[in-house]
Every structure is written in C-alpha cells, then in structure tokens.
C-alpha cells in the first residue's frame, strides 16, 4: 500500500467566505487505486473541498497537487486536462443534449477537432470524432443495459438514477486519473445504492483513483479503503472505516448535532 504513488496531495487547504472558514487547513493524501471517502455533517465543507480541487473555487491558501503538479491557480478546464474529473451533488447533466452528446462532452479535452475541420470533413477531424464516438461505448460499459437504450434520448427525459449514471459516464469519458464523486448515491433507492457500490469498486479495479463524498454510512464503510471525516471545515478523523466509525469525535459530530437540532 505504501509504495503506491500519491495521486492527490492536499496541504493546508483553506477557503474563507467572508468571516466563515469553510475549509480550514485541510490535509489529505490519496494514493493510486484507492477509494477514499470524505464524510461529515451537512455544511462541514466537503463539497467546498471538491470545488477547490476541481478549480471551481480558488482557495484562500494551501496547495493541491495532482501527481506532483500544482492545481491551485489553474483554470478549471486545465485541471480536467491534468486528469481530474468530477460529478456534482445536484446532478449537472446538459439537459438539452442527448445522453450520447453528454458523454461526448467528456471527450472534449482530449480530442481535437475545430470548426474548419468539421465543416470540411477534414480527415483528422473525422478521425477525432470517430474516436470520441468509440469512447462513448467504452464509457457506458459498466452500465450498458441502463444507458444503451437511452443513448439518443435528451438528458432531461431521463430518470434520476440514469442522470447520475450519465454524469458518471461523462466523467469516465474524460479518461481521468482521479475521479471525484460528490454523493453518488444521493437520492438512490437501496437497490440502486448497491449497484453504485459495485460500480465504484469496478471503476477502481480498472485503475481509477476515487475520492468521494457520501452521506450513506453503510455504503462508505463497505467500499472505502480509507475514510476522512470533516466537521466545520476541519479534518477531525482519518483512517480505516472501522477506526473512524468508533472514533468518539466522529460520533459527537454526527449525533451531537442531531440531538441539538431535534
């Protein structure tokens, strides 16, 4: 385990919104081929961490390194090119595009085809377009029976779970090294959740490194190699799922909050 190279290395990551410190000196390491879960109560700053990694937000201070390349200060589209793909908590598929086109968007950063090329059927453009189309087939491999029949339907016509699948397939088509999944099982029924667990493992077995935010504890316990717990922007625990589960600070962060708000 220890000889694996680091994919993601976060050091002292801090983000303030006015007087609120959403993420406070957050450190984490994610090694190649790991599934690391980021958990914590609502408002703990988990999604902010994802937004900071993917370049949607700029950190106040700290560093995010992806395979030794500094990501802080790079625009979001370049971070994708460096091998980070993500999904969103409140699914963001392109509603008017078909499922196929949504997934093709994933290939955007590694295919090259311009306006002149596409208008003139330039051979290089035609090849790039064909490669992108072929990637759709690879990207939906893990949920072929679900998405194959819907490939030419517009994304707004999809069920909630299929939108999630489309979003994940789109991220896979970007051929990432690190996949950030923001609550992949949110809003899923128990059966779909089991499917998602299998899916995450299958993606890891294909060589992906996965960093995910998840609220559903049994799922987290089942699939994670390591769990990182956040509360009020601060990392309060890190370790194997079992260790974290019995950590008194974690129990307090969850149950204390619930008792207070009940």
């Amino acid at each position: 385990m220890s000889d694996r190279r680091l994919v993601l290395e976060i050091r002292g990551l801090t983000r303030r919104f006015g007087g609120l410190t959403a993420v406070d000196r957050f450190d984490v390491d994610v090694k190649e081929g790991e599934i690391v879960s980021l958990v914590g109560p609502n408002g703990a700053g988990k999604t902010t961490v994802f937004n900071l990694i993917s370049g949607v937000l700029k950190p106040t201070s700290g560093s995010v390194r992806m395979l030794r390349t500094e990501l802080v200060g790079q625009p979001a589209h370049r971070i994708t090119r460096l091998g980070v793909a993500r999904t969103f908590q409140n699914i963001r598929v392109f509603a008017q595009l078909t499922v196929r086109e949504n997934i093709l968007l994933g290939t955007h950063h590694w295919t090259h085809s311009g306006m002149l090329g596409s208008a003139t059927f330039w051979p290089a453009t035609v090849r790039a377009e064909r490669a992108a189309q072929a990637e759709v087939d690879t990207a939906i491999e893990l949920f072929r029976e679900r998405l194959q029949p819907r490939l030419d339907d517009p994304a707004f016509a999809l069920s909630y779970a299929n939108r999630r699948r489309t979003e994940i397939a789109r991220a896979l088509a970007a051929r990432p090294k690190l996949l950030l999944l923001d609550e992949p099982a949110a809003g899923m029924n128990p059966y779909e959740r089991i499917e998602i667990a299998g899916l995450i493992r299958a993606m890891r077995d294909r060589g992906l490194t996965i960093f995910l935010i998840e609220h559903h504890m049994p799922l987290v316990m089942e699939i994670s190699d390591r769990v990182v717990v956040m509360d009020h922007g601060v990392k309060i625990a890190e370790g194997l799922p079992k260790e974290v589960h019995s950590n008194p600070r974690v129990v307090e962060a969850y149950l204390g909050r619930r008792a207070a708000s009940a």
Partner: protein, 415 residues
Amino acid sequence: MSGQPAVFDGEPGHALKRFWESGPSGWNRTLTRPVVLVPFFVGAAIVPLILQYLEDNSSWIGAQYWTLILATCAMYACLAVALNLVVGYAGLLNLGFIAFFGIGSYAYALVASDQIHLHFPLWAALLVVIVVTLAFALLVGVPALRLRGDYLAIVTLAFGLIMTNLILDLDRPPVLAGHQFGPDGLNITNGTNGLHNVAPFSLPTSLPLLGDIPHYRMYYWVFLGFLALSIFCMLRWRNTRTGRAWVAIREDELAARAMGVNIFKYRLLAFCTSAVMAGIVGMIDAALVFNAYPENFAVQQTVQVFVMAILGGLGSLPGAIIGSIAFTIPPYVLQQFVFYKYLIISVVLIAVMVFRPEGLLGTVSLRPRKALGGTIELLTAESAEEVAEMPAVSGADAAEIEAVTGEIVTPEQKA
C-alpha cells in the same frame, strides 16, 4: 416526450402522426435532414424562374418586385441563422448583433466605391469584410464575454448604439479632447446619407440554360447560397465537438468547465463566427442595393432579427427560416395594413411568448429565471421543472431510505 428520431416508414398517415408526435427536437431533426433541406433549397432557387414564367405568360407584372422581396427574406434568414449561433447555440444575448451586419456593409462599401477611391476585387473585399468584422467582434467580445446574462446584453446593446453614432459622425474628422484626427476634409462614412454607388459583385449577368439573370435574382441566389452554406456549417458544428461545447456552456457553464471546456474561448468563437457571418450578409446587402445606410445599424433591425429567431425557435435552423419568411412576406402581401405592422407583430409575438415561449420549433426560451432573482437568462424549457422537482426527490428519498433501512439519513441541504 419522445426522443425517437422520426423515421418515415410504414403508412404515410403514420409517418405524419409520428412526425407530429416527435416534438420540437424530433421536428428539428427531421427538417434538417438532407432529404428535406436539399429539395427545399432547390425549390427556393427556382421560385424566381416560376415568377418570371408567370410574368411572361400572363398579364401579371411583378417578378422583379417579388424577387427582391425573396432576396430580403433570404437575407433575414441568413441573419436569423447567424443570430442562432450566438444566442441559440451559445446562449449569449448579443443585442448589438445587427451592428456587425452594418459594419460588414460599410466595410464592403468603402473598398468598392468612390468614397475613399478603393475598388477591390471580390475576394479581396471579402477578406477585408471578414477582417474588419472580426476585429470589431474581438474588440467587444474580449472584454464583454467575461460578463454574463443581462450585463452582456447591456454591453452589446451599447456597442450597437455607439456604432450608429460613430457611423453618423465620421463624415468629418474625429475630434478628441480638442485634438483633431485627420485632415479637415476627411469624410469616411458620409454621415446620414450613407455610402452610394457601391459596386456590385462582378458576377455573370447571363448563364447558359438560364439565359439573362437580372440583378435581384442573382443576389437572391447569392443569399440562398450563403444561407445553405451557413446551415451546412451550423449543422456540422452542432454535431461535432465545437457545437457540443457551445450548447454545453449554454446548458450548464459549471459542468462544461468541469469537462474541460475553455468557456471564454468557446464563447468568443461563437461570438466572432456569428459576427463574421452577419458581416458577410451585410456585404452582400450593400452590393445588392448599391448602398450602405446608417439604418443598417438600427436597433429595430436587431429586434426584427431577434423576433424571427425567437418566433421560429432559438437554436432551431428550420425555425429561423420559418421566422424570417413569416416576418418578411406577409407585410408585403398585406400592404394595406402597413400602418398596423408593428401592432400585428407585437400581438403575434406576445401570443407566441404566452403559448409557446420556446418558439415554434425551439427548445430554448428567453424567460426570466426565477432562481436567479428574475435575471433574463436563456432558460431551457425543462430546467424550470427540474429546479422544482429536485429537492422534492431528495427529500422523499431520504424518508424512503430511512423507512427501508432504518438508517438515520441527514436530509440533503436545499440550495
């Protein structure tokens, strides 16, 4: 809503029914097939020949007149298609769109008239028009495209108004802070009079088989050719990487960025391409009417092209053609109602906005987005429902998961 492509097989009655039921996206798909577009353009091209035949073989006179109207119609169709690129595909509310049409017409008029004594051949003039419109598009686009929604609309509207004044005032040397630029007699744009005696393109005046080709008919064909070329390019772009990136930015900027799309680059690309298309249309127009007028920059023109594109449906190319036909032909047919023209247009437009906000063939609508405090953004027809539905789904699901698994589920935070 069915996303199935409307394929014509089986009984014709069924095919029509299926076409009707395929919804706006299906209509667009069917109407943009070569099997529909090629006959349409061939048919459109022979209409003036039919008019000529009618004039020759009956007492009716008006082939010239109606060919000019058709040319105007084709011109507006070209503009509506170009506007569709920037507003319909890329979702950028460019209210200064028509200024690029005017810039194109003046750029051509300056290099093909006696105004500054330049008479460029067609290819060189085309190059000048492209370079000049591109330069203006970059000048506005580079700073303005960093803004969004209403702000972009305000900046582009202001650009259009500034261009009108610039054209009107450049009949004398510009004076800035007491310093005069250029000699006293400098007159570039000829002010309110516009540029006259603009040379038409050096096109053949007769062709084998077709015989003599009157001026208007030739330019109708030129517009039609440019329209066909624009539509071909637009369809190709829409179905390849560039066009997908445009629509993705329109649909969800954040997600597009997360997929590696350089938002600024693609916005600028859409803005400039559309501007250059409008500029070329302006150039053809200047050659058609031998003039370039300050009215080419009028805000009413922008409104007119917007109305056509919106009525037909933003993002829909057949819609743009239908919209331009609907707003150029009837005013001439109903000459006696000419005083009520804008009244009728307004009523039709309000009716369309009430009953079909996304236009006849469109899937995108211009409606205030409530979630953003009522700012006018391009809103896809379905995303409003989605916003309403999403929190409900997660809430219900949290309860369901608790019931099924006995787990404590923290309900999702509502945005």
